[in-house]
């Protein structure tokens, strides 16, 4: 098991995140297709117990904790929480999932939110809940939007396209799960 970072801390910065994300790299790479650029983040204060070389061999006879083990707690820095590998993986996976929105990569484009066109949150939720198949359906079911019909036609069409793709993907996933 490669020793990452050495010592107690996961050092802050690009290199640490890239290397510790290396565990989940294969799955992440195949999901995103490319590395995502981001600015270095500092403040990774959590002591990484998981990344130390595991000293598995127990030398104690079982009576009292030998002096070597007791000192481990004293060596750890104050005000830190130990984390298991699996806990760290979960947190880092969540960050990697978010990185796609935070990235500066120009190829990854997020469609403009309907909010910018004055559609309220409730109306956005309503549109998502009813899975409309056409833009006319949206205007028929939510009469309040007809006031901005001209401006909203195109963004709505894009949004509905994305929704339809998502719905298809989700139903395919459900089918795969059922068939297994």
């Amino acid at each position: 098991m490669a020793e990452k970072g050495g010592g107690g801390f996961l050092p802050g910065g690009k290199s640490a995140l890239k290397s510790s994300a290396g565990k989940d790299d294969n799955s992440a790479r195949s999901k995103k297709g490319k590395k995502v650029q981001f600015d270095a983040e500092g403040g990774w204060g959590k002591g990484g117990k998981g990344d130390k070389v595991a000293n598995g061999s127990k030398k104690s006879t079982g009576k009292a904790t030998p002096p070597g083990d007791r000192k481990l707690e004293q060596e750890l820095p104050q005000n830190t929480t130990c984390m298991m590998d699996c806990e760290a993986a979960e947190i880092l996976q969540g960050i990697q999932d978010n990185m796609i929105t935070l990235s500066q990569d120009p190829d990854i484009k997020i469609p403009v939110s309907l909010k910018k066109f004055g559609v309220s949150d409730a109306e956005i939720c309503l549109i998502a809940n009813i899975h409309p198949e056409s833009v006319d359906e949206v205007f028929a079911l939510i009469p309040a939007l007809t006031a901005k019909m001209d401006k909203l036609r195109d963004p709505l069409r894009i949004a509905l396209g994305e929704l339809a793709k998502l719905k298809e993907a989700l139903s395919e996933l459900a089918n795969i799960k059922v068939s297994r």
Partner: protein, 177 residues
């Protein structure tokens, strides 16, 4: 529509629960008392997602009960006038049909059902078009628009319509998808 909201409640706790697990007992009592209930103002409280804070307990005079003010986050469901929802039909009669969308019951009167649909009584009462192409019976899925809500202290009841464009049956219970 579902909402995520912070609510506050005063929880009363009997002294027999005091001890090491006091906070856990407060939280589990909160979940038991609140999940699944309906308040007219906020809607149906579906599930508690987190506890924001538990205040200091105040001992009530006369009894040994202690009241803790608890702030918690939860998912609520509240129907609104003008909302379009998908619901499952639960009962059909000649006055109209009842449908359920989550925890809320919606009634669609026969005046708000398209004129070309007629009530057919029998074993499985249903509304059918004259050519038999569309049928609304128990367990059908319909898309309806809520045109009115009646809210009292512990119950929300809605009236809906399927007479507008893009409303009506989504799927038949017997149809293969």
């Amino acid at each position: 529509m579902f909402f995520h909201i912070v609510l506050e409640r005063n929880m009363q706790l009997h002294p027999r629960h005091f001890g090491r697990d006091l906070r856990d007992k407060i939280v589990s009592k909160l979940m038991k008392d609140v999940e699944g209930t309906c308040s007219g103002r906020h809607g149906f409280i579906v599930a508690i997602t987190g506890i924001e804070s538990v205040g200091k307990g105040l001992i009530r005079d006369g009894t040994g009960f202690v009241t803790f003010p608890v702030k918690y986050q939860c998912v609520v469901f509240r129907p609104f006038k003008g909302e379009v929802v998908e619901a499952v039909v639960t009962m059909v009669n000649k006055m109209g049909f009842f449908a359920e969308a989550g925890p809320v019951q919606i009634f669609v009167s026969n005046h708000l059902i398209p004129d070309d649909m007629e009530f057919q009584s029998g074993d499985m009462p249903n509304y059918t078009t004259s050519d038999g192409s569309v049928k609304i019976q128990k367990d059908s899925e319909v898309r309806l628009k809520i045109i009115g809500t009646r809210v009292d202290a512990t119950e929300i009841f809605c009236i809906g319509t399927i007479k507008d464009d893009f409303l009506g049956v989504i799927s038949d219970p017997g149809a293969t998808s």
